[in-house]
Symmetry: D2
């Protein structure tokens, strides 16, 4: 739908591991968030300050391979859909080479805390997501 | 498919909140895990010690309402499907009354770390899941 | 100095464990915070809403025994010192019986976010801490 | 006592922030751990695999400045003391320039899980710590 792509590296922390010695399944969602927030900060930082928040309304992850401490990680974000006030992202958690650790999706809604309700995605952000 | 149900309370911690003042979306998956592990410990504790692990292969969550510090939380687990080596759980995160904060699902596989591969779900566990 | 005491239970979560199978050392500080915030909410909830924050300026912990998943935990908070704008707490992390898992201390300062500086501890809170 | 120094960068994650919008005080200890484990992996990786663990017996932190999402962070580790089976580290959490966010210390003991007791720090590690 859009060929927008954003890739960033994530550093695995010892504290991300659980008692099985692998990155805990909930922490994968923290990795998605970390990538997403870096994307927002880098691309929309000035625009966003204090004005809007993006609330996650759906998140899902398919786990392919366990992640261990020394794994080199990248998260690649792409855009699935852009509606009036919501948008969907797909994610690959991978090693930058041939290993895919997980595939994931989130749906988010653009929310105005002052108005207490969803609002239209600002045009400059929509333009980036649609890669126009 | 099965009328197995398990409900437990979860105490919200201040550290579960993120900069928006709500429980962070990734922490919802920690709540699912906490409920799941309590269920396993209470029902299958003796059976499991060191022998088998249950790996999450899929997890998803639909967020309905934000959770704040003073919310009273319960997680109710039910069984969606039971196959040879995998099973699916559904979860409600709710207040024990009328509020549903989230609905979620996980698929898990019964894994033998010594053999390094999925194995059949032990019969006593299968029986509980199928509520027979 | 004061015989104020507050004790609360903490539920160990699977996600608190690290790759060694014990509660991670940083999580002990989350337990202290959880106890502290429960104390503040229960005793000073109405007083505090949005007006003041308590910033940690020092924290320390002596680890005595590892904590595992099934341990029954309590945190007992006592008051070490109360100054104009800062106060010190001591904590025991224990099992309610004979086991002490850790001893800890924090120093906190009463901070007014609107003024951007430390302020005097409100008299009603000081009275509770001094157990007068 | 020793002029051994190790410095590494830490990436602040959105999930490190608490409801005050600053990195949570317990997460500072996760930063210390992350730096420590990176040091161990980089310098002693081959030596350590599965043989020894380093248990934290004491940890403390003095908080100087709040850390926010866009702060650029470094942790510098230095060696305070080296005894037979235990050693002490000092840490600075800083921005690589003029800002010091926190100063911290940990005491750790070299533990053999198979023997279930503290053991002497291996000579090659001791040599590195003493910078000889």
């Amino acid at each position: 739908m859009s060929d927008f792509k954003y890739t960033t590296t994530i550093e695995v922390r010892f504290s991300d591991l659980d008692a099985y010695g692998h990155v805990n399944n909930a922490v994968f969602f923290t990795y998605l968030e970390t990538a997403r927030i870096k994307l927002f900060q880098e691309r929309f930082g000035d625009f966003l300050d204090g004005q809007l928040t993006f609330l996650v309304t759906h998140a899902e992850c398919d786990y392919r391979l366990p992640i261990v401490l020394n794994d080199s990680l990248q998260v690649t974000v792409s855009v699935d859909q852009v509606k009036r006030s919501s948008f969907g992202f797909s994610y690959l958690i991978h090693d930058g080479n041939k290993k895919t650790f997980a595939e994931a999706k989130t749906v988010m809604v653009c929310f105005d805390p002052k108005k207490g309700k969803p609002v239209a995605i600002p045009a400059p952000i929509k333009t980036v997501f649609l890669n126009q």
